[in-house]
Symmetry: C2
Subunit: 455 residues, 2 copies
């Protein structure tokens, strides 16, 4: 659905703010509440003009050039690409049908990242049905050998996205288990919470020495259909025809885009904010993760506009996250020995931030209280859960960098995640703006924190 | 999403009803409220075991055989197929891309019924953008000639589905207008109210003597994207690559399935209830129109179970509705000279009935009051709008047969209509049951009405 441009709707409020604040200079949060809306324009422009940008592709390279131009135009310093090589997997043809014992019915399918190929002629085989990942693990090889494994467990929506880890095992690990047991191929119910005829892709991995088998996900209505046919086949084989022809394209160039707001105290360690620029290939990567790049960049821009911060703010638009976290690892390989004051990542859509988690040194107790107090007016409450970050800052966090999580509402995130449906219309401008305000409030405090609080 | 089987949930209530009603024989409405749920089982079984059933195809023939078996097994009389020939259009390959002035982006597209073909090599041309059907009609031929026309108006949801007629003109009539103006092809924003990457197909028609051009619909997020690219192309051509290879398969056999509950008074004119058995080819035709057949059949079954009605009840499962109403016309050609007391059709999904419209002779005033009173407890209110029926009974109504419309809530109908998403999970068992109850209450009165009320 077409939405009105959000910035236009705020003109009145911006004018009011400027009138009432009179001589006092606006704070970064004032600017985030009233100013222009770079989070929206970054998201709209990137998804419209570049669209899908699989890591290691020419499209990702075009997106990097676009990002460098945009970040320079916004006034950031030290804007640059940092290249690295990465192995590239490319989607091919995709087609799947249930062929017996009922009339043939087409399934909406997407290959999983790192899936093997059926070859151009495809395959047809009996389905071996498993209610969930654990049932596959428990099955004898004889139940699987020469068959197309199907894993059928329905992910449930949760505000904190906590179903992903449990239900996601069917995708993360199921193909490797099926391959080791001698399956011809594996098809899973999408790791998703919607009920549309759109499949959810995502990466899987095979152990060294395990030959990748064809691996795909079908939409939840198709999985329902398969399960019903399985239940009423009454011992007759349920047959599936499968064509998946992805290929490995060897090592290709990817790259991170870096930009900075230089701090007034160059001896101080920087604050690093991360998102990822790459996306899956079937949507335009709006909520995953154009909005993340929009949010962190808008926050940095508002803090910059309110006056030079004490610490340097560094933006990391990671070039490759979806297919293995190569961007975050490359950043760590290049910069892991530098001291970072704190890392924050935005990669869970653009619905409102509802909770803040911390994992900071004891010296930061007062800082934690100040941030929590600043976020509370925007509906964001402090939790006792330790922050953990995400893939793009994973290596930094593992090496001991302090981290904060501004937790977004994930209730509808997995309706859209890794599907062709990840498009601009799924972004709610009002919730996107709340993200920017929350990030700006947090960043304004962090970027001006003392070295005794965050060394 | 998998739903619990609805019948199971009503066991307790059924038991209670049978206990409390004691010696009094249950009415048809009692049975509809408490008994088994043939509307659900018909819908589930037909969509699971047959699935898509395009009119005139082998699949529709299989569905007819399935229907005959099922209706006989349910105890209906005079169950039979009535065959007729019809022209058949078959979907081919479908692919569409925006290719310039930005990076190529794939569009989710579906050919419209009766679309012409691009040929196997496809075509690439400039897009001529129109904000709506009227703008296309007003345009000079020179604005269209040699281009791919795009019509972009966003249908709005309405409880009574009233946007379909207005916005639908882009589909019903747009291709013919574009062809006459010299367009190479036409692509429209889907006539739908969702925002998923799934296109809404549907039939279009070209006037005699107008050569059909390729005609497709793209999903609403894709239409948004096209509109954004058009707006920022700044005079550079917006280019589209289009491949649609449908073909005409000549005249093929289709057929209506008829079943009856014989009335105790054979001299009385029958009540005819209609649905359609065919479906579009990309979904499983759950809400369009397996549920319609389930609803009318369940109502007839409950009335039959409560005791033989005075009038014969005739069920018409029309074999071809989607692509031109050939089933309803064939029924009229065969039976139009017979007197029908009243006709009712169910072909607007399975969400709750909220309104009842009548178009009955003056002699039926008391009957209208009795039906309205019987429906009110179930949240169905009487309107002053005249009933008009639908395609399957259209010829009968045009010839003067009295008609009643049990209007279903169409708010979400056009989210799903004519898409791959028309699958069982979209049916709400509770609302489906309310339909059956409303139909049963209406039918029990109609089938026992006097000849002085309905001649």
């Amino acid at each position: 659905m077409t939405r009105p441009h959000h910035a236009a709707r705020l003109t009145g409020f911006a004018a009011l703010l400027l009138a009432t604040s009179a001589s006092a200079a606006p704070t970064a949060v004032d600017l985030a509440q009233a100013g222009d809306d770079p989070a929206w324009t970054i998201t709209e422009d990137l998804t419209t003009e570049i669209g899908p940008r699989p890591a290691g592709s020419d499209r990702e390279a075009a997106a990097r050039r676009w990002a460098v131009d945009r970040l320079k135009a916004m006034g950031f310093a030290n804007v640059r690409e940092e290249a690295y090589p990465m192995p590239v997997w490319q989607r091919g043809e995709e087609d799947a049908w249930l062929t017996a014992p009922f009339l043939p019915q087409k399934l909406a399918i997407a290959a999983l990242g790192n899936s093997g190929s059926t070859g151009p002629k495809g395959m047809e085989a009996d389905v071996a049905y498993f209610g969930g990942y654990d049932a596959l693990v428990a099955a004898p090889d004889s139940a699987v050998k020469g068959k197309i494994v199907f894993i059928d467990n329905q992910m449930k929506a949760a505000q904190d996205g906590s179903g992903y880890g449990y239900y996601g095992r069917g995708r993360f690990a199921g193909p490797n288990v099926a391959a080791k047991k001698g399956a011809l191929a594996i098809v899973i119910r999408s790791i998703g919470t919607d009920n549309h005829r759109i499949a959810h892709t995502g990466v899987t991995n095979f152990e060294d020495g395990v030959k990748p088998i064809p691996a795909g996900a079908i939409s939840t209505p198709d999985a329902d259909q398969l399960a019903r046919q399985w239940a009423r086949a009454n011992g007759r084989p349920l047959r599936m025809k499968l064509l998946l022809t992805p290929q490995l394209a060897g090592k290709q160039a990817s790259g991170n885009v870096i930009a900075e707001v230089p701090g007034s105290d160059p001896a101080s360690s920087p604050v690093i904010l991360a998102c990822h620029l790459d996306s899956w290939d079937q949507g335009t990567g709006a909520i995953d993760d154009a909005t993340g790049c929009g949010i962190i960049t808008a926050a940095a821009k508002h803090v910059m506009a309110a006056g030079q911060p004490r610490r340097t703010i560094r933006l990391l638009w990671a070039g490759a996250e979806e297919v293995g976290g190569f961007g975050g690892q490359a950043y760590f390989d290049a910069h892991g020995k530098e001291k970072h004051a704190v890392a924050i990542e935005s990669d869970f859509g653009a619905d409102r931030i509802w909770r803040v988690d911390f994992k900071l040194p004891d010296s930061a107790k007062g800082l934690t209280d100040r941030i929590s107090a600043a976020l509370a007016p925007f509906g964001i409450t402090r939790s006792k859960n330790p922050a953990s970050g995400g893939t793009d800052i994973g290596a930094l966090v593992a090496a001991g960098t302090p981290v904060i999580d501004l937790q977004q509402d994930g209730t509808r995130y997995f309706d859209i995640h890794h599907t062709p449906d990840d498009t601009l219309d799924k972004v709610d401008p009002a919730q996107l703006r709340q993200n920017v305000i929350g990030w700006t409030a947090t960043l304004a405090i962090l970027a001006n924190s003392s070295d005794s609080e965050l060394p």
